[in-house]
Symmetry: C2
Subunit: 482 residues, 2 copies
């Protein structure tokens, strides 16, 4: 990865207004947006087909403020409540980005449907991770989870592509069809290897390698980096996100998620931010009944509301001393997690035996259960504020423990750090200066999705598609999308 001088190019071999590196969610929407403004667009995609992380995603888009499916279900959402929610859950909220994302959310949903992505008006009301039905609306985050339930009016904002099971691949298929329909040129097997700057320091094109052959491509109005995250790049993980390198953590994403776009952006003078952050999860649900269990650390203490969104629950487990976390059930509550990412350690006839079996401090678990059962009987979890729906005293032997510890349970996830960008997806230098002609969107940029604790399903596809659009619009029209 490098950044070279235009003078070393000689004559450009190809030319377009807007050159996009990577046909994933961000790149596809950016290309479509640039075509809407009349620009010529070439997408250089390293793979031999469409196979970025979006194709493996569940197909959730985090949108709200009164979308068609929300209205069809009589749900009363607003851009302000959506803003309150995202603001409360984002560790370093970039207010203006969240504001724009929420204000434009209904319009963005409509735009996605216009591109051909199907969403029906169904509403899947239970807790799940990759919903088995084709229903659209889902509770995809911590909306009903305390304390967020008090900080913003809860409303389901996950919009799932209308297909049974995972819908990311279908969404990408529809975007590909639309891109070809409107005249986006997509060149597969084409890896961007260098950015090219002119004398004024503006990015004016790229170098690209296709089956060993090097070509140059001029970008009259802008270059977008949309190459995804870097969870497949061990060296980058070691350097930036060492915390994600633990046993049984399975990277989730496309095979080319190796951070090439981030490295290109750095070579051009950009800055990579929040690089230590990553999404990690190990869902205990479905089935929902496991939310009635309690999770404890090595001291036998509870530490999170068990009904949290699965990645919040997982992050809390990873944060415990020595990464130790056990999900404790009694006979009434016990079930096998559908994803089979946590194994049953053992079952015991008494709490004291369970304490000993898990090497918890003697008496610590009984102490925790005394308090929890008392709270459950009264229907109020005074310690962690788990929703009363999941409160049920754990008294029926045998007692079982599911292994949720770091290195023991299976976790999966992806990186969340990336290039610092403006609201228009312009890449910024460490001092905050725009690097002219260079944009980044999707998982190689850092916007709203910042950590596992605050994540809601659909934020990545949502922001990739939205800020991708803004990039394409800004590059061609030289003004912000509005």
């Amino acid at each position: 990865m490098k950044c070279i001088d235009e003078r070393s190019i000689g004559t450009w071999q190809q030319t377009a207004d807007f050159v996009v590196a990577g046909f994933g969610m961000a790149g596809a929407c950016a290309a479509l947006s640039a075509r809407e403004r009349g620009g010529s667009v070439v997408v250089l995609e390293r793979g031999s087909g469409v196979n970025g992380s979006a194709t493996q995603a569940a197909g959730h888009f985090y949108l709200g403020g009164g979308t068609r499916p929300q209205l069809a279900n009589g749900l009363n959402d607003s851009a302000d409540e959506m803003y309150n929610y995202l603001h409360a859950l984002t560790p370093e909220p970039e207010d203006q980005k969240i504001r724009l994302y929420c204000d434009d959310s209904v319009q963005h949903f409509n735009w996605l449907t216009e591109q051909g992505i199907p969403f029906n008006d169904g509403f899947y009301k239970r807790k799940h991770v990759e919903q088995p039905t084709d229903e659209c609306l889902i509770w995809s985050g911590n909306e009903k989870v305390w304390p967020y339930s008090e900080l913003a009016q809860p409303c389901p904002r996950g919009h799932k592509v209308a297909v049974e099971g995972s819908g990311g691949a279908l969404a990408m298929q529809r975007l590909l069809e639309q891109a070809l329909r409107v005249g986006v040129a997509i060149e597969f097997d084409s890896a961007v290897t260098a950015l090219v700057k002119n004398e004024q320091g503006r990015v004016v094109g790229v170098c690209c390698r296709r089956f060993g052959e090097e070509t140059s491509m001029q970008a009259r109005k802008g270059v977008l980096l949309a190459t995804g995250g870097y969870v497949m790049n061990k060296e980058m993980l070691k350097k930036y996100t060492p915390e994600a390198l633990f046993e049984k953590f399975w990277p989730q994403g496309g095979a080319n998620d190796d951070g090439s776009g981030i490295e290109l952006g750095l070579c051009a003078g950009g800055e990579a931010i929040r690089m230590e952050r990553f999404f990690a999860t190990s869902p205990i649900y479905p089935p929902e009944q496991l939310l009635k269990a309690i999770v404890v650390n090595k001291y036998g203490q509870r530490f999170v509301n068990e009904d949290s969104y699965h990645a919040r629950f997982a992050r809390a487990c990873l944060d415990q001393d020595d990464g130790i976390a056990y999900l404790l059930c009694d006979n009434a509550v016990f079930a096998r997690p559908e994803f089979q990412m946590q194994e049953l350690i053992d079952a015991w006839e008494t709490v004291a035996e369970m304490e000993a079996g898990l090497s918890l401090p003697a008496g610590s678990l009984q102490n925790t259960l005394d308090k929890y059962n008392e709270d459950a009987d009264r229907g109020h979890d005074s310690l962690m504020h788990k929703h009363p729906d999941w409160l049920q005293a754990l008294r029926e032997p045998p007692f079982g423990a599911l292994q949720c510890s770091r290195g023991e349970a299976t976790y999966t996830g992806f990186t969340l750090g990336g290039l610092k960008v403006s609201v228009n997806a312009e890449v910024l230098s460490p001092s905050g200066q725009v690097i002219g002609g260079l944009y980044a969107a999707g998982a190689c940029a850092s916007n709203i999705a910042q950590d596992s604790n605050g994540y809601s399903s659909g934020t990545c596809l949502g922001e990739a598609s939205y800020f991708g659009r803004r990039a394409g619009h800004h590059a061609i029209s030289a003004q912000a999308m509005s």
Copy 2:
């Protein structure tokens, strides 16, 4: 800060074998070590006198393996046990560095005394932060704290300069006298502004500014960056260590601890590592009796053994949800912390009132106290393994709470990230290549002191002096010190 080409220098204005940026602990010991090998040495110090962070330090050196004061007190320490301890407490232990540091520790203690730093054979046995007496040996870390007490044979390894109260300034005074005695040239008010590389990419000198006048200084054998950390540089903190930017966190160090050496090293192709790490503390002791109190988080749960080294205790407080931590006393145990960094919130007649007063979940504190008092009565803290010396049931009203929360209590500290270096203090590139001619030691490099949780008093002065020596030796002799 920049790195420039030797050809732009013309004729060098001054020349020495070894040029040192910064007369702090690392720079002073490096200069002395280089003189021992016969090299000519110039130290360029930005301040008008000796005023780096060491002058403000308590004057502890973490040393062991059978030093003179350890032997005089009949203590049985070994390099292996010291290694076990440091290895267990270092998050990313660099084995070879720790090994060398421990194996050479007795010899290094002797060397420090030969430079004129006074250490007597006294032993201050109580728990303190800046010991009021001139006694040498102190318990300066987590040696007796579980689980470390089981991982390495506990032995006191803090060696304090023989002066009542803080001893860092006296140590630096002695090193200055020695440096002048052996012919080290020290130029004050001289800030290094650039490193100079030759065509082969080797660092061959520096540019330096003295009262607005620019000069160049050739370094025939090497340049050492020994300019300290960056806790005084808000911009760098924002970028690298945002977690340290909270209310009532007071930077501890010299006024020139602005990271200039780290930035110089980066310009020359070095890599800065562990930059998110910092030391933070808010000591509750002295008086020791406060170790008999318990600390709880917002759920009313204990989370750390209260007899931990003060920075481990502090780090654990900062890590709790919302940074909330209260130290709870009963009437028998209550005292005011001598450093006055935590205020008394209030006192209450009953545990239930204290719960309500601190907005803890109803019943949570009583639940925690039931377990703690039962354990204390039996003399075994089954939950956190606080030493039996500090176990005493808390039952005597009134009950009081001291505020330890992030943003509420006063914390102080310094940065721990810095340039990646070899065992000989050579600055390394991101790919691990030595940048010829360039060294870094002290707080602008990253070696053994890596985080607050694993820190022991004396690690910074200890490693700064030791790896500084190695740098001076290696630069002049082109081989490792042995």
